[in-house]
Symmetry: C2
């Protein structure tokens, strides 16, 4: 399942409105097929893995991060049928598909065919992996990641606005990798005016990824090459966007936090002190310190050169 989860990462940010699924076919302890949802949503991970496995899929175990689909589509057959036809002897799945067209029917069809099904394996990681799809299903909006790159004292720039560079090359490369995992990237008017950012993915092999560029502004309307929205809530109807990355600056970040529209926080911190600089946030609507607690849980941390990346997730009851 670990391999299937890793494969699923390859298409995160490219499959909306479909989930990014990973699948591995294992026979006699050897991987005979690997698949991940392709850009645009098809082929599905299982179809790709079964195509690679060919006849070796007979008697094999299929690991998938999401329940195989049960619905026919003009774009391809149902994955549960493909697994049955291929003759796998066991199916191991992380999460049930919340899509009402499947929602347990994939499991039922496979079990009816006499194939053993194991569910719930590494479900928490799969939830994180498919956060965009699951957030869209549950809340009707994209999954929102806020990126902050700060000094130890929480500054994002010098008093004159200069921020090159707070973090080092490894942290900046990681931030570009994160761009490639999002269908859209949003900035505010200040960042747009100051940098006119390209918001592209400057990493070898990922240059073709061009996330939708979104500008949050209540005053401008038409900006060529950009999608302009007037309020944080306007991200909900963006087409084919299940993951959106908020890149800056403080006004935009604070507006999304105040609207409780941030699901994940990427905090890149450099081991420097700036002092009287520009701070990462403004008012986020907090009236009491007790309200601030219990909202954010750290889920990952790593060193990137001399900088440290911490990843936090918003704690929500419905999660």
């Amino acid at each position: 399942m670990g391999t299937a989860l890793a494969l699923a990462e390859r298409s995160r940010g490219r499959t909306a409105p479909n989930p990014n699924v990973g699948c591995v076919i294992v026979r006699d302890g050897r991987v005979v097929g690997r698949g991940w949802t392709q850009a645009g949503g098809r082929p599905h991970a299982e179809a790709m893995a079964l195509a690679e496995a060919g006849a070796k899929a007979r008697g094999a175990t299929a690991y998938a991060t999401l329940e195989p689909c049960a619905h026919q589509s003009p774009r391809g057959p149902a994955c549960s049928d493909l697994l049955i036809e291929a003759g796998v002897s066991r199916v191991v799945v992380a999460l049930e598909d919340p899509d009402i067209r499947t929602a347990g029917r994939g499991f039922a069809r496979i079990e009816t065919a006499g194939i053993a099904v194991t569910r719930g394996v590494r479900a928490d990681e799969a939830k994180r992996s498919m956060a965009g799809f699951l957030t869209r299903q549950a809340l009707g909006r994209p999954h929102v990641t806020l990126k902050l790159a700060t000094s130890l004292d929480g500054c994002i720039a010098m008093p004159d606005g200069s921020s090159r560079w707070i973090t080092g090359p490894q942290a900046r490369a990681h931030a570009h990798l994160e761009r490639s995992r999002h269908e859209a990237i949003l900035v505010g008017r200040g960042t747009y005016d100051a940098d006119a950012p390209r918001l592209d993915v400057r990493l070898p092999g990922l240059e073709e990824r061009r996330p939708m560029r979104v500008l949050l502004s209540s005053t401008v309307r038409d900006v060529p090459g950009w999608t302009v929205i007037a309020a944080p809530q306007d991200i909900a109807p963006l087409p084919n966007v299940d993951h959106i990355l908020i890149e800056g600056g403080a006004a935009v970040a604070s507006a999304f936090l105040a609207a409780d529209l941030v699901d994940r926080l990427l905090l890149y911190r450099a081991p420097i002190l700036i002092g009287g600089g520009k701070h990462s946030l403004r008012d986020i609507g907090l009236t009491d310190l007790t309200e601030a607690h219990g909202r954010w849980a750290i889920v990952d941390a790593r060193q990137l050169g001399s900088d440290r990346l911490e990843v936090y997730e918003r704690e929500r009851n419905e999660a």
Copy 2:
């Protein structure tokens, strides 16, 4: 040597102007004596460990975090003579004593008596352990630790100044333990006026520790129970203070950083966002981002409940 270093921690902040030394006597693989510099500076660690070991010191190995002293004093004999008289067969030391009254003469005296000497064992840790003594010797001032307790976005309080609580009980207990390791604690006028803090050590078994309370203010003069200084540089002549802890607020912290008088940074961070609150620092005299880099190296990090403590040290060429 690890045990000797741990013993030395017991008296950090209580031995000025003497160093806080740890000593262990080991014979046939068993610890037969343990000592650490006592409050006020005497007895020395070696004298205490040898007293515990008694006749078992003969043929034993003595581990000490600092070179045994070679100077006679009205307050006790030289430790190098005590080790020779006790008949130890080997002496293992972390650091040479920079005090000009010893400075290699302790080693010379022991070796002349035919006892093997090993130097430089875990010297970096010993430097950190005796940072107060070494800073006083090298720079003629106390070792300065700045404590900051912040949210992830670098706030130390809500807009109205309330800061109870940003960090949790484990982080606050650790901050009290740090108080016990300093001869003096300094706050600014704002913190004094807002909290009239006791600055005592509220930990079981350490209640008797009463660090000197220092107020940094250019306007007030006499405050009963407090030592008032007008500028950060005025910490240098404070009597019997080799470790000083800067506790708040932002103006005081920034004044010490601007004067480059902070050697160690204790950063307690709670997993919360505050937004438009009071920030941890003001202008610290930085004119360019490149100046900010290369100053701070992380030397320790630990989780304290839901909070994280990071310890940074100022990188100095003379270190």
